[in-house]
C-alpha cells in the first residue's frame, strides 16, 4: 500500500543567508578525520591470525595483527537471525576499556549457527545459511567477503583502510608510531580539546560491487541519493545545532543515524555502524574491476570500537525488517499527534492561546495541538510557567480539553544554574550533571544563560527526569499536555561548534564517546516520564530535534530550523525520506519555514506538502510576523483549510500506516524505489514519494507541489501495468509514464494506486478526537484485473490497550470478483467502535444492475448506488454496516 506523493517545485533561489561555515569543522580541521583520510587505499597492514580462530555456537573470533606495530585486535563475527552479519573489532588488550554503545539495540541480537565450510592457511569459508551464502575470511591481507554463489555482495577492508588507533598512555612510546599534532590535544577556534586519552579513532572500508545507489546516514540537508564525496568533505555525523543550515551540503546537522542502504535492481542491503562518536562517511562510486559499477564506503569514527551490522536484504522491506529487529520500530503515536499542530515561537500568553484556538474555530480549520516554545517558562526554567503570561495553565489546558484539543510545552535539557530552581538544585545535589574535565559540574551558555546539562546517559538520572513529568511534579500539567525536546544535540552556545566540549565527562566516559547518543537519551527519558505519569496507560508524544539510531522508539523528529524558502520546502522530502529509510518514520519539517517570512504562495504550498508528510506542524521564528492560516486573505485561508482538511480525512489511513510501522519497521513515507526496486527510473527521485505499507499491497497517492507561475508539472507514475487514480478527479492514468499535470493554486496532485482500498473519514471536525465515532468512506481503486485490497485499523487512539488488552479492530478489505468484503485480520482482538461505513466509492468500476449487502447474521439488503460513466466511479449510498464486523457487498 502506498500513499504516493510527488513534489515538484521551481526553486526560487533567492539570496540565501547561509550558515556560518567557519563555526563548524571540515574534515581537515578535525585531527582524527584528516589523519585517517590521509591514509590511502592499498595493502592492509592487518593480518588475520587463523591459528587463533575459535568458533563457538554463536560466533567466531580471530585475532588480527597489525604488521606495522604488532598490536593485536580481536575480530568477532556473528551470524544473526534474519540474514544479518555482525562484525566487531576491538583491541585484544586495550590499556583501558573502549566505549561500546549501550541501549540502542533492543536486545542482544539472536545468533544462528555458523559453520566452517572450508579452511586453509590463507582463508576460512563460513556458511551463512542457505545453499550458497558464504563469508570468506582472508588472512593476509585481512579481508572479509560476503558472497552469494559466485557473486561478491560486499567486502570489508578490501581497500585496506582498516585502522585502529590503539589506546596508549601519554608519553609511552608507541612502536613505529610518531605522535602527530592533534593527537593529544586539539584546538578549534578558541576551544581546546584536552584529549587525555590521546588518539583513539577507527576506520573501515566497505566495497559494494554492482552498486551505484546508496542512501541513508541522515541527517543532512541533501538529496536522497548520497553523492560522491571524492574531492569534498565526507558526510559528517555529529549532532550539532546549526544556525541557518545550508542545502545540498554534507555538513552535520541535529541528528545522526549511522545506517547506509545500498540498492540495485536485484538487491538492497544495509550497513549499520554502531558508534556514537563523531563520524565521517566517505562515499565513492565508480567503476570497479571489469567495468562493473561499484560503490566504496568508508567510515571513520573518533573513538569507540568497530561494531557493524551488515543487513543482507535482499529486498528493501527485508532490510527494514532486519534493521527494526536490531533497533526497534517506530513508536505507535497517539492518533491526534498525526493531525495538525500549530506552533510558533511564541504564543505569548493565555489570552493569545485562547485567541488562536478561537481563530481556528472561527475559520473552521481543524487542529489538534497548540505549542508553547521557551517563552512560556519562568526565565527559561523548564517545568515552570511564566507567572504573568500563564498564571493559570490548568485553566488554559482545561479550555483546550473542552474542545478535545491538546498542548505541547518545550522542555530542553539545559538547566538554568539557579539555586532557587528546584530542578537545578535536585540535579546538582544528586550529582546528575555532566562533569567538566576537572570534575566540576559542566556549565555552558544556552537560553537561560548559564546552564548545566543533566547526564542522560545515566539510567538513574533518566529515572529521576521521568519522574519530573508526574502531574504532581510538573505543576500546571494535565493529561493533554505533551512535550518537545529541543536543543538536545546538546546545544551549548559558547561551546566548540555550538556543542559540548568533548573532554566533558559522563561518569567514566568522555562526551566524545557518547555525543551522538545524548539527544536519544533525552527523548527516551521524557517519553518514559509521560508513560509513567499515566500509570503506563497512555501513549506518549515527544518531539525531538537530536536523534540517533533507535530514536524511532520514542516519538517524532523534525528537521530543525529550516527557512521560508522554496528550496527548504523541496528539501523537506529527501530529508524525511532518508529518516524513514533508517527507521524514523515520524518526521516532518516546519511548515512555512522557521527562519524568515514565507510569501502567501509558499505558505500555502507548504501546507499542501506538509499535509502529506508524517509530522504536520507549522512553526515560525520569534522575529517573523504572525502567520496563522487566516492572516493571508480569504482565498489563501480557504486553500490552507482545504489542505488541512485533506489531512484529517486521511487520518485513518495515516494511523494504519503507523500501526504497520510499529509492527513491521517499514517506513511510512518512502521513496519510489522502495516500492519499485527494479525500476531504475525511480532510484534518484526525491520530489515524489509514497505513503505506503508493504509492496504488493495497494494504496498510493502522489502529490505534486507546483511552482509559482507554473501551469503544470511532470510527475513520474511508476509501475508498469499499474493504474493510478487522481484522488480529486478520479481520473485514471497508466503507470510507468511521465505524466503532465496541470496545476493551479488549489492543486495537490495525489494519486491512489489501482488495486488499493483507502478508508477516509470525510466528516472533518474541530479536532481528530471529535471524529472518533464518525463513519468511513471507502475508496476502492480497481487495478487492471478489477481487484483491490486494503486494511482498516481502529483502536481508542491514545492508550496501550491495543497491546495490553488486545482492544483494537484490524480488518482486511478486499475487492475481487465483483464483491467487496471485510474480514477480520485479528480475530482474538476486539474493540467496540461506533463507526460505520457511510459510502463506498469504486474507482474504475462498471455499472452493476444491483448491489446487495450481506452481513454475518445472514441479513441481506439492497444498497442504492449511483454510477458516473464519465469517471467510471460507482458510489454506493449508505450501506451502513459497522466498521468492526464482517460483511460483503455484491455487485451484480
Amino acid at each position: 500500500m502506498c500513499l504516493y506523493l510527488v513534489l515538484v517545485l521551481s526553486v526560487f533561489l533567492s539570496i540565501i543567508q547561509a550558515v556560518d561555515r567557519s563555526n563548524f569543522k571540515t574534515c581537515d580541521q578535525s585531527a582524527f578525520c584528516s589523519r585517517q583520510r590521509a591514509m590511502k587505499p592499498g595493502q592492509s597492514s592487518y593480518r588475520a591470525l587463523l591459528e587463533t580462530l575459535e568458533l563457538s555456537d554463536s560466533h567466531l573470533t580471530v585475532q588480527l595483527l597489525n604488521n606495522n606495530n604488532k598490536v593485536l585486535l580481536l575480530l568477532e563475527l556473528y551470524r544473526l537471525q534474519g540474514n544479518m552479519t555482525r562484525v566487531k573489532i576491538n583491541e585484544l588488550k586495550p590499556v583501558k576499556p573502549r566505549y561500546e554503545v549501550p541501549d540502542v539495540l533492543i536486545t542482544d541480537p539472536p545468533t544462528e549457527l555458523m559453520s566452517v565450510v572450508a579452511q586453509d592457511e590463507h582463508r576460512v569459508v563460513l556458511s551463512l545459511g542457505g545453499e550458497d551464502w558464504r563469508l570468506i575470511l582472508s588472512a593476509q591481507p585481512f579481508r572479509l567477503d560476503i558472497m552469494e554463489g559466485p557473486q561478491v555482495l560486499l567486502s570489508l577492508n578490501s581497500r585496506g583502510l582498516l585502522a585502529f588507533e590503539q589506546l596508549r598512555i601519554q608519553g609511552e612510546e608507541a612502536e613505529e608510531e610518531v605522535d602527530q599534532p592533534g593527537m593529544w590535544e586539539e584546538t578549534f577556534k578558541t576551544h581546546a580539546d584536552t584529549k587525555p586519552n590521546g588518539p583513539s579513532s577507527i576506520s573501515l572500508d566497505f566495497s559494494l560491487p554492482g552498486v551505484e545507489h546508496v542512501y541513508g546516514i541522515p541527517e543532512h540537508a541533501d538529496g536522497l541519493r548520497l553523492k560522491n564525496t571524492d574531492g569534498g568533505d565526507p558526510y559528517r555525523l555529529y549532532n550539532l545545532d546549526v544556525f541557518q543550515y545550508e542545502l545540498f551540503n554534507p555538513m552535520a546537522l541535529y541528528g545522526a543515524v549511522p545506517v547506509l542502504l545500498s540498492h540495485n535492481t536485484h538487491r538492497t542491503m544495509g550497513l549499520f555502524w554502531l558508534n556514537a562518536a563523531e563520524t565521517w562517511v566517505d562515499v565513492s562510486s565508480g567503476q570497479g574491476s571489469s567495468e562493473v559499477p561499484q560503490t566504496d564506503v568508508r567510515w571513520i569514527s573518533e573513538s569507540g570500537i568497530i561494531d557493524v551490522f551488515i543487513m543482507l536484504g535482499p529486498r528493501p522491506n527485508d532490510v527494514f525488517t532486519q534493521y527494526a529487529s536490531l533497533t526497534g520500530t517506530q513508536a505507535f503515536p497517539p492518533l491526534s499527534s498525526l493531525a495538525y499542530h500549530q506552533c510558533r515561537w511564541n504564543y505569548n500568553d493565555q489570552e493569545d492561546v485562547s485567541a488562536v484556538d478561537q481563530g481556528f474555530d472561527e475559520h473552521d480549520i481543524p487542529y489538534d495541538f497548540i505549542w508553547l516554545d521557551i517563552e512560556h517558562t519562568d526565565g527559561k526554567r523548564y517545568f515552570t510557567w511564566d507567572n504573568n503570561k500563564f498564571p493559570q495553565p490548568k485553566d488554559m489546558l482545561q479550555g483546550l480539553l473542552d474542545k478535545r484539543r491538546k498542548m505541547v510545552t518545550i522542555v530542553d535539557p539545559h538547566i538554568k544554574v539557579d539555586s532557587s530552581y528546584k530542578i537545578h538544585t535536585e540535579i546538582r545535589s544528586r550529582g546528575y550533571y555532566i562533569k567538566n574535565k576537572d570534575g566540576g559540574d559542566y556549565e555552558g551558555w544556552c537560553w537561560p544563560g548559564n546552564a548545566g546539562y543533566p547526564d542522560f546517559t545515566n539510567p538513574e538520572m533518566r529515572k529521576w527526569w521521568a519522574s519530573m513529568f508526574a502531574y504532581g511534579q510538573y505543576e500546571g500539567s494535565m493529561e493533554n499536555l505533551y512535550t518537545w525536546n529541543d536543543m538536545n544535540e546538546p546545544s551549548v552556545f559558547n561551546g566548540p561548534e555550538v556543542t559540548m566540549h568533548k573532554d566533558a565527562l559522563h561518569g567514566p566516559w568522555e562526551h566524545r564517546d557518547v555525543h551522538n547518543l545524548y539527544g536519544f537519551y533525552v527523548q527516551m527519558a521524557t517519553a518514559e516520564g509521560q508513560i509513567q505519569r499515566s500509570g503506563g496507560l497512555e501513549r506518549p508524544f515527544v518531539l525531538t530535534r537530536a536523534f540517533f539510531a533507535g530514536s524511532q522508539r520514542y516519538g517524532a523528529v523534525w528537521t530543525g530550523d529550516n527557512a521560508a524558502e522554496w528550496g527548504h520546502l523541496k528539501m523537506s522530502i529527501p530529508m524525511c525520506l532518508s529518516l524513514g529509510l533508517v527507521g524514523i518514520s515520524f518526521c516532518g519539517a516546519d511548515v512555512g519555514g522557521f527562519f524568515k517570512t514565507p510569501s502567501a504562495e509558499l505558505l500555502v504550498r507548504w501546507y499542501q506538502a506538509g499535509a502529506y508528510q508524517p509530522f504536520f506542524r507549522a512553526h515560525a521564528h520569534l522575529d517573523t510576523p504572525r502567520r496563522e492560516p487566516w492572516l493571508f486573505g480569504p482565498d489563501n485561508t480557504a486553500l490552507i483549510r482545504e489542505a488541512v482538511r485533506q489531512r484529517y480525512t486521511l487520518l485513518p489511513y495515516w494511523y494504519l500506516q503507523f500501526y504497520h510501522a510499529q509492527r513491521t519497521g517499514q517506513p511510512v513515507m518512502r521513496p519510489l524505489w522502495v516500492e519499485y526496486p527494479e525500476d531504475i527510473a525511480t532510484f534518484s527521485i526525491d520530489d515524489e514519494f509514497l505513503i505506503a505499507l508493504q509492496p504488493g499491497e495497494d494504496d498510493a497517492l502522489a502529490q505534486t507541489n507546483s511552482p509559482p507561475v507554473s501551469s503544470g508539472v511532470t510527475a513520474y507514475l511508476p509501475g508498469n501495468g499499474e493504474v493510478w487514480y487522481d484522488v480529486h478527479t478520479f481520473q485514471r492514468h497508466d503507470g510507468a509514464q511521465n505524466l503532465s499535470i496541470p496545476v493551479t493554486m488549489s492543486s495537490i496532485p495525489v494519486f491512489q494506486r489501482g488495486g488499493s482500498i483507502i478508508c477516509r473519514k470525510n466528516r472533518v471536525r474541530r479536532s481528530s478526537s471529535c471524529m472518533e465515532n464518525d463513519p468511513y468512506t471507502l475508496y476502492v481503486a480497481l487495478d487492471s484485473q478489477g481487484n483491490a485490497e486494503g486494511e482498516l485499523y481502529i483502536d481508542d487512539g491514545h492508550t496501550f490497550k491495543h497491546e495490553t488488552d488486545k482492544q483494537f479492530i484490524h480488518r482486511r478489505l478486499s475487492f475481487t470478483a465483483n464483491s467487496l468484503s471485510s474480514s477480520d485480520l485479528s480475530p482474538d482482538s476486539q474493540f467496540p467502535s461506533a463507526s460505520w461505513v457511510e459510502q463506498v466509492n469504486i474507482l474504475g468500476a462498471q455499472k452493476p444492475d444491483a448491489v446487495t449487502l450481506t452481513t454475518t447474521d445472514g441479513g441481506e439488503s439492497s444498497v442504492e448506488f449511483a454510477f458516473d460513466p464519465d469517471t467510471a466511479v460507482l458510489t454506493l449510498r449508505k450501506p451502513g454496516m459497522n466498521a468492526g464486523v464482517n460483511w460483503t457487498l455484491h455487485l451484480r
Binding site: P625, R765, E838
Partner: protein, 534 residues
C-alpha cells in the same frame, strides 16, 4: 438513521415575559426563515437545485445535496450549517461538523443530541448576562454619546477659538511685520555713524599700536646691536653674528661666513644705521643671548608649521558682530587641533612674549563714539525684540494651523486627545499613548524608553475608519521591522488605555476607550429585538 423531525418549543417571550409558546414543526437544524423549503412528506429539492430527494432523506445522516441543505441537523455534509434556536438567547448558525462532536456549542444543547456529551441549557443565563452587559453597554454608550456631544461641542468651540485666534494672530502679524521693517530702518540709520566712529577709533588705535611696536622694535634692535657688538667697536661683524646659529638661512646647522655676510647685506660689518636693514631681515629668528633657556635645539619644519598653526587663532579675528554660536564651533575645532599638536610639540618659548604683546589693550571709546554705539545698540535691541515677537506669532500660527488641519474625526470629536498622554502600567512596562503624536514603552525597573511608533493615520475598516489608529516608524527591531502600534478605540465613558499586547514581534496592539467613538444608542428594546429571530 431516520429522518429526525423536531418539535420545537419556542419561547418567544424571552426575558420580557410577554408572548405565548408556539409549536413550530420543522426538520432539525433548519431556521424558521427556511422552513417553507422543507415541506413535510413532499420531495425536497436541494436549495441549490442540484437534485430532488424524498423527504425521508432529509437529516438521514447521509449527504445527498452538494450544498449540504438536506442535512441541516447532522454532520453528514462537509458544508452544512446547523441552526440553534437558543431560546432565551441569540439564535446562531454553526457548521454542521459541530453537531454531536462532544462539545457543547449551542446554549440550548440542541447540537449535542446524540454524542453522549452532557450539556446544560445555558441560554437563559447567557441571555440574562447578555442583556445585562447590553444594558451596561447601552448605558455606557448613552453616557458616552452624551459626552461625545460635549466633546464635539467643545471641539467646535475650540476650533472656532483657534480660528479666531488665528485671524487675530494674522492681524497682529501684519502689525509686527511693519514694526520690524520700521525698526530695521532705525537700526540701520543708527549703525552707520556707529560704524564710522568705531572705525575711526580703531584706526587711531592701530596707528598708535604701530608706533609702540616700532618703538619696541627699535629698542630691541639697539639691544641686539649692543649684544652682538661684542667688541663694542660700534660695528657688528661677520664673526660676531656668526655665533647666532638660529639665523642660519638654510638651516643646515652651520652658519657659514658667506651666509653671515649675506645676512649683513654683503658687508663684513655694519654700523648701527646699516644694522636697521639687517635687523629687519633677522629679527624674526633672532634669539637674545640673555635668555637663560636655550631654544628648541633645531628648528624642524614641523615646529615651524606648528607655530604658524598656534598663531592662527590670534591672527584670525572675527568681527564682533558675528561672535555667536559659530564661534563656539570653530573654537572647539581649534581646541581639538591644538590638543593634538600639543601632544607632539611643546609650546615654544616665543608664545609668552607674544601674549604679552597682545595684552596691550585698546583704550576706551571717547564719549562721542560711545553715545553713538549706545544709540545703535538700542536700535538693534528694539529690532531684535520686534523680530522675536514676529517669530512667536508665526510659530503660534503654524501650530494652530497644524492643529486645525488635523483629522480629528467627522465632528472633530477626537480633538480633545490632542497634546494629551495616557498611560498603562503592566507587570514589566509603562505604556504611554500620546494620541496624534506617539506611543512609547518604558521598563518599570530602569532602562530607557522605546518608541513604539509615531502618529501615522486612521486605519479602521472602510465603514469605521475612526475606530483604529496606526502609529508606525518606531524604533527598529533587531533583524525585524520598525516597531509599530495599532490602537483600537472602543466606546467608554473614560478615556483610558485598557490593555496592550505584542501579538507579533514588534507589532503592538493597544486597546483604548474614549467617548469619542460612542455611537448614538438605539433604544434598548431595539438592541434586544435585533438579536432575536422573531
Amino acid at each position: 438513521m431516520s429522518c429526525a423531525l423536531l418539535l420545537l418549543l419556542m419561547s418567544l417571550a424571552l426575558a420580557m415575559g410577554t408572548g405565548a409558546a408556539v409549536e413550530i414543526q420543522r426538520p432539525r437544524g433548519v431556521p424558521l426563515s427556511k422552513r417553507q423549503f422543507y415541506e413535510e412528506n413532499k420531495p425536497f429539492t436541494c436549495l441549490d437545485g442540484s437534485s430532488t430527494i424524498p423527504f425521508d432523506r432529509i437529516n438521514d445522516d447521509y449527504c445527498d445535496c452538494r450544498d449540504g441543505s438536506d442535512e441541516p441537523g447532522t454532520a453528514a455534509c462537509p458544508n452544512g450549517s446547523f441552526h440553534c434556536t437558543n431560546a432565551g438567547f441569540r439564535p446562531a448558525f454553526i457548521p454542521s461538523s459541530r453537531i454531536n462532536d462532544g462539545i457543547c456549542d449551542c446554549c440550548d444543547t440542541t447540537d449535542e443530541y446524540n454524542s453522549g456529551a452532557t450539556c446544560q441549557n445555558t441560554c437563559r443565563e447567557m441571555g440574562r448576562k447578555e442583556r445585562e452587559s447590553l444594558q451596561i453597554m447601552a448605558e455606557i454608550t448613552k453616557e458616552g454619546f452624551m459626552l461625545k456631544q460635549q466633546l464635539i461641542h467643545e471641539a467646535k468651540r475650540g476650533q472656532e477659538d483657534k480660528q479666531g485666534k488665528l485671524t487675530e494672530l494674522q492681524g497682529s502679524k501684519k502689525g509686527l511685520e511693519e514694526k520690524v521693517e520700521a525698526l530695521r530702518t532705525v537700526k540701520e540709520t543708527a549703525e552707520d555713524p556707529e560704524k564710522e566712529a568705531k572705525e575711526r577709533h580703531l584706526k587711531s588705535w592701530e596707528e598708535q599700536k604701530e608706533l609702540i611696536r616700532m618703538e619696541k622694535d627699535k629698542t630691541r634692535m639697539a639691544e641686539a646691536f649692543l649684544e652682538l657688538d661684542d667688541d663694542a667697536d660700534g660695528y657688528v661683524s661677520v664673526a660676531e653674528l656668526q655665533s647666532h646659529l638660529e639665523l642660519d638661512p638654510d638651516s643646515d646647522g652651520s652658519l657659514t661666513e658667506t651666509e653671515t655676510q649675506g645676512l649683513l647685506g654683503g658687508a663684513d660689518k655694519v654700523d648701527t644705521s646699516t644694522f636697521e636693514t639687517v635687523w629687519s631681515g633677522i629679527k624674526d629668528k633672532y634669539l637674545s643671548e640673555g635668555l637663560s633657556d636655550p631654544p628648541a635645539p633645531v628648528e624642524t619644519p614641523q615646529e615651524e608649521e606648528t607655530r604658524d598653526f598656534v598663531s592662527d587663532p590670534d591672527s584670525d579675528h572675527y568681527p564682533e558682530d558675528y561672535a555667536g554660536e559659530e564661534e563656539d564651533v570653530e573654537d572647539d575645532e581649534e581646541d581639538d587641533h591644538e590638543e593634538e599638536e600639543e601632544e607632539k610639540v611643546p609650546p615654544t618659548v616665543q608664545t609668552p612674549e607674544k601674549r604679552a604683546d597682545d595684552e596691550v589693550s585698546m583704550p576706551p571709546y571717547d564719549t562721542e563714539t560711545q553715545s553713538l554705539i549706545d544709540a545703535a545698540q538700542k536700535a538693534r535691541d528694539d529690532f531684535d525684540e520686534a523680530e522675536r515677537a514676529l517669530r512667536e506669532v508665526d510659530d503660534q500660527m503654524k501650530n494652530l494651523e497644524k492643529e486645525i488641519g488635523f483629522d480629528f474625526g467627522p465632528s472633530a470629536e477626537f480633538a480633545y486627545l490632542y497634546s494629551q498622554c495616557y498611560e498603562l502600567s503592566t507587570s514589566e512596562y509603562i505604556y504611554r499613548l500620546c494620541p496624534f503624536n506617539r506611543v512609547s514603552q518604558k521598563p518599570k525597573f530602569g532602562g530607557s524608553e522605546t518608541n513604539l511608533g509615531l502618529w501615522g493615520q486612521w486605519a479602521g475598516p472602510e465603514d469605521s475608519l475612526y475606530s483604529v489608529m496606526k502609529y508606525d516608524h518606531g524604533q527598529g527591531c533587531w533583524q525585524g521591522p520598525n516597531r509599530s502600534t495599532t490602537v483600537k478605540l472602543t466606546c467608554g465613558k473614560e478615556t483610558v488605555v485598557t490593555s496592550t499586547s505584542e501579538p507579533s514581534r514588534c507589532e503592538y496592539l493597544m486597546e483604548f476607550t474614549t467617548p469619542a467613538v460612542c455611537q448614538e444608542p438605539a433604544s434598548l428594546d431595539e438592541v434586544l429585538q435585533g438579536h432575536t429571530e422573531l
